[in-house]
Symmetry: C2
Amino acid sequence: MTTTDRPGTTALPMPDLSGTFPGPFPTSPHADRIAEHVGRWLHRFPLLGPSDARHTLCDIVAHGVARTFPTAEPDGLFLCADLFLWLTAFDDTFGEATAAGSPARLVRRIQTCVHLLADGGPPDGADPFDEALQDLLVRLRTRATAAQYLRVTGCLRDVLFGMLWEAHHLAEPHHVTVRDYRAVRPHTVFVRTLVAMAEVVLRYELPDEARNSPAVRQPESAVADLAGVLNDLASYARESARGVPDSLNLVPLITREQHCDIPGAYAAASRLGEEYAATARHGIAALMTGDSAPLARHARALESIACSYAWHIDHARYRKG
Amino acid sequence: MTTTDRPGTTALPMPDLSGTFPGPFPTSPHADRIAEHVGRWLHRFPLLGPSDARHTLCDIVAHGVARTFPTAEPDGLFLCADLFLWLTAFDDTFGEATAAGSPARLVRRIQTCVHLLADGGPPDGADPFDEALQDLLVRLRTRATAAQYLRVTGCLRDVLFGMLWEAHHLAEPHHVTVRDYRAVRPHTVFVRTLVAMAEVVLRYELPDEARNSPAVRQPESAVADLAGVLNDLASYARESARGVPDSLNLVPLITREQHCDIPGAYAAASRLGEEYAATARHGIAALMTGDSAPLARHARALESIACSYAWHIDHARYRKG
């Protein structure tokens, strides 16, 4: 979600979402308050240096979360924005290229996070990332039910595993199939965490039977897949423009599996994105027209989560234009 | 729990638990039925070859779980035994030395497990470990509440992370402090998973406030630490007898941090074990004498979990004598 705000995004065809998730996307009236809040939170927990990158990240996260949950109250938005900021900063600081050089170092860094997620006490020599995570977990426990807390902390473990998975495969992407990548990508793009946070931020609870039904799981998966494709297409365009298009990304994986060139793979990925968007829209519409209030609420949350990922692309296009 | 059934265990001093967790340890009247069940389950999901090792593992897991939850009904015992067998077989097959040679391979193997734990559909080309895990998760979901399911699957993720952590550090134990090791060990010795399974197997539910209180967390941590020390002492003795004492283990970590020899480190670890046992017994007694039925039930479960780890040492001694 934070990686498309760069020139070059429109050099290759993005998915056409005008029939499925058309803008303009609703945003929260509290967007500016979120931006102020994350600025303060980042001052308390200095996860990033006082640079332009920090300012840009705060701005994108705040306005992204304002579109993810446009109807939410401020406290829930603040918690979600801080969590998203933590994940992004953790990945930028310890994941990806940094981790590829020494996966063991990333394993050690993640260890204290796992300890905190497993209800362990504060680690010795806690750094701002540990302290910020403790703060997030305390606030999450206060706001969420026991099951919601466990669902979100399960997702956070999966994100951390996804970062490890990426670190091990950046140098050897030939081991990665498109199917493998699709399985891990919803974790590393944080969309599963956002879906789990929806109930916490918006204060509703899905009945368990519904949660495990195809009617809910299918649109959740489609939104998750859509988020991954959108982020990958935008990231690939951005990284190509910078001359470093070799990261783990759907586009080069498709070129290898389908023996096609980059524009062909890009077009194939865009079509995939359109298919995911259509499936998501279909499933969301079905949930909205049913007679269950929490399911309709969940459907609206899935819709706005999809919109927030689509918004980032529009945002990048806007900046380019 | 399954690693002490070998000669050599008594060559170095084990912790004296006669004042804290004295035997004989109660066992389930269903122990033989558990052994028959795991034999059948392992026939359905061939996680191990048809060897003596398989027979020994089934026997130890069945009789270990019979002591872990001596008052439980058969279905709960079967689920717990199968889960423990899966974890042990997974670790034996993909973890430890195998994984140290290629952590990336272990990451890929774990990926499909994470996918299943995160409610993903059946992976392509599922092997017996994937199929067995799916079976376990379906049975767990049927038996457990939503929060219990999430708590156990959170623990399973932590076990898998612990295996990755070990794989990355077997070749470079100098990066590992005793404190780091103590943080990870409760996951890799599966004791946190057993504690989470107690409510599922014995069908009770701790109130959330109590769960997060020091009165509960302290004896849980002490039992977890005790389990790790007992397993490490027994494993170290066994592996020394085999001439391969270089695995990641508390004993050599203590020699390095305290600049002492092996008998000195062994004695220090034994004392640590006695301290954990005393703390555990104290906390368990306090919970038992309170007026909360689920807390007293949880205390009895913690007691029998500690006994089951202690039992393995007695078992090994018995076999040696």
